[in-house]
Structures are given as structure tokens and as C-alpha cells.
């Protein structure tokens, strides 16, 4: 899947997490995204969305998975652009017409609406009011999601207002970890090794997340579709 911009070759990186070492020596259980998805990030299509577009970019990553791995209804459809995402939300009357062309942030609820609207894929919103300290209570649920649906997950919060793509979860002997794809990179396309070396895709322990922020997770329900 490629796009062309005047200055960049926009061949987006596929499967940024492939080959990333495990976060611990002893792994009890590892559940990863199935199939392929693309790494969407700030400015990757030529639109400078630094400071506001990270939620949209994670939504694009989830869309790319549906376009490549999804059912007949979503397979080989296109990933929406940022303006197209905004238009979809206005069409659904979740946002007023003035939303188009704005730099307003979106979150996991908007992502769920867009994925359902464009691809007929419902999403489950998992609400974790206690933030990082509570997330471990939901890890069985997240393992089950990747093992059953295999689709990437979008995570957003309030105090932690940076969007995260979740490509897997891992229970180690010492800690539990999430495989985070960070959409905040801005620059020319990177090779997989550089993306991993710079930490734009990395394992993050649940303990390192904000304990004072609630988190919502958008889980596309794709099993059987």
C-alpha cells in the first residue's frame, strides 16, 4: 500500500514490530496482532498534523489492518485520510460541520464510530477508570482479544492524552507489557530497524503507564466477520 507526496516516498512501513525482542527473558504468554498493518504517524501523508493528529493516525493503522486482513466487506478498501475521517464523523452527526478542517482531537469512541461506518466492523470500548494500576485486571481480556480477533487496538486517555496503537500484550515472569506503536514520529519514512531502535514501536510495562489517567481501549470485533 503506497501513496505519493511531492517530497517523500510514502511507502509506509509494514509490521513495524516484526523481530522486536521480548521484554523479558521468561515469557509466560504472548498474544500479538495477526496479519499485517501499516505504521501511520505524524505527517506520513504529507499533512503536518503534529500536536493534534495522533488519534487519527492510530485509527489509520487500525483501518490498514482491516483493509488487508478484514472480511470481504473491508478487504482492499482504502484507509481514510484525516479529512475523510472528519467527514465521516460529521456525516454521522457526531461532530458539527465546523469540525471539518479543524485540528480537533478525537479518541477511541470516534475511532469506533468511523470503523463501523466505513468497514461495518463493530468495536468494543474497554474503559479502565483506574489507569495503569488497574490495567492488569484486564490483561486476560486483552490476551483473549488478540488470540480471538487479532486486530490492533487503539488506546487513549485523559491525563495521558497521547494515542497509542496496541499490537500485542505479553505476560512475563516479572511484569506485564503492551506492545505500543507510537504515532508521534514526524519525519521521512524509517526502516523497521530504525523504528524499533528509536522506540517508536516498543514493549511498555503496564507499570510505566499513567496511574492517574483513565484509559479507553477500542477493540475491533473482527472474529467471524
Amino acid at each position: 500500500m503506497t501513496a505519493r507526496n511531492g517530497s517523500w516516498d510514502l511507502a509506509l512501513l509494514r509490521n513495524a514490530h516484526f523481530g522486536l525482542p521480548d521484554p523479558e527473558t521468561t515469557i509466560v504468554r504472548r498474544s500479538l496482532v495477526s496479519g499485517e498493518c501499516l505504521y501511520f504517524h505524524y505527517g506520513c501523508d504529507g499533512q503536518d498534523d503534529r500536536g493534534w493528529g495522533c488519534g487519527y493516525r492510530t485509527l489509520q493503522t487500525l483501518s490498514s489492518w482491516l483493509c488487508v486482513n478484514g472480511s470481504q466487506r473491508s478487504y482492499q478498501k482504502l484507509v481514510p485520510s484525516l479529512p475523510e475521517i472528519q467527514q465521516a464523523l460529521v456525516t454521522m452527526e457526531d461532530k458539527p460541520p465546523s469540525f471539518i478542517g479543524s485540528r480537533e482531537w478525537i479518541g477511541t469512541f470516534e475511532a469506533a464510530l468511523v470503523l463501523d461506518h466505513l468497514y461495518d466492523v463493530p468495536c468494543r470500548i474497554l474503559h479502565v477508570p483506574g489507569g495503569g494500576s488497574e490495567l492488569h485486571h484486564h490483561f486476560e481480556e486483552l490476551h483473549h482479544h488478540f488470540e480471538t480477533h487479532g486486530s490492533p487496538v487503539m488506546m487513549g486517555g485523559d491525563r495521558d492524552n497521547s494515542s497509542k496503537g496496541i499490537l500485542g500484550v505479553c505476560t512475563g515472569a516479572q511484569e506485564i507489557h503492551m506492545l505500543v506503536l507510537d504515532p508521534h514520529y514526524y519525519g521521512p519514512p524509517l526502516e523497521r530497524a530504525a523504528v524499533q531502535h528509536s522506540g517508536w514501536v516498543s514493549w511498555r510495562s503496564v507499570g510505566s503507564l499513567d496511574h492517574c489517567s483513565f484509559y479507553n481501549l477500542c477493540l475491533p470485533q473482527t472474529a467471524g466477520k
Binding site: E93, K95, W105, G157, N216
Partner: protein, 76 residues
């Protein structure tokens, strides 16, 4: 007349206040949501659609409805 019962929880409040509503099973679901938003937050809403456009959203979990806050992401 048969009834259906909903437990509606405001999960954005750490005290988890809730209300239990029993309505006739023919009641439109949008009316249940509108009433739930008014009852839990103590404000009147013009339409059920307005409820969806507000900061909070509703989750249906079996016979439970949970009002959760929307997240907004953009900064780094």
C-alpha cells in the same frame, strides 16, 4: 405488561453512583438513554441524540449501562 430492568452506572465518578430503571419492554432504547443521562447527571437533555454528542458515551453490558467519559488524544 412485561418490564426490562437496567442498572446505569456513572463510571467516571470513582464512587460509581448508579440508578436502577425498570421500563416497559416496548420503551424505545433512546428514551432510556435520555432519561438515564438526565437522572445520573441531573441535567435535562433536549434529545437522545444530544446525549451521544456529549463528552460521555454509553456502554451496554448485558443489562447494565455504563456512562463513560470520552478520551481525547492529540498531544505528545
Amino acid at each position: 405488561m412485561s418490564k426490562v430492568t437496567f442498572k446505569i452506572t456513572l463510571t467516571s465518578d470513582p464512587r460509581l453512583p448508579y440508578k436502577v430503571l425498570s421500563v416497559p419492554d416496548s420503551t424505545p432504547f433512546t428514551a432510556v438513554l435520555k432519561f438515564a443521562a438526565e437522572e445520573v447527571r441531573g441535567r435535562s437533555l433536549v434529545t437522545a441524540r444530544a446525549a451521544f454528542a456529549l463528552r460521555n458515551v454509553f456502554l451496554k453490558h448485558g443489562s447494565e449501562l455504563r456512562i463513560i467519559p470520552r478520551d481525547r488524544v492529540g498531544a505528545w
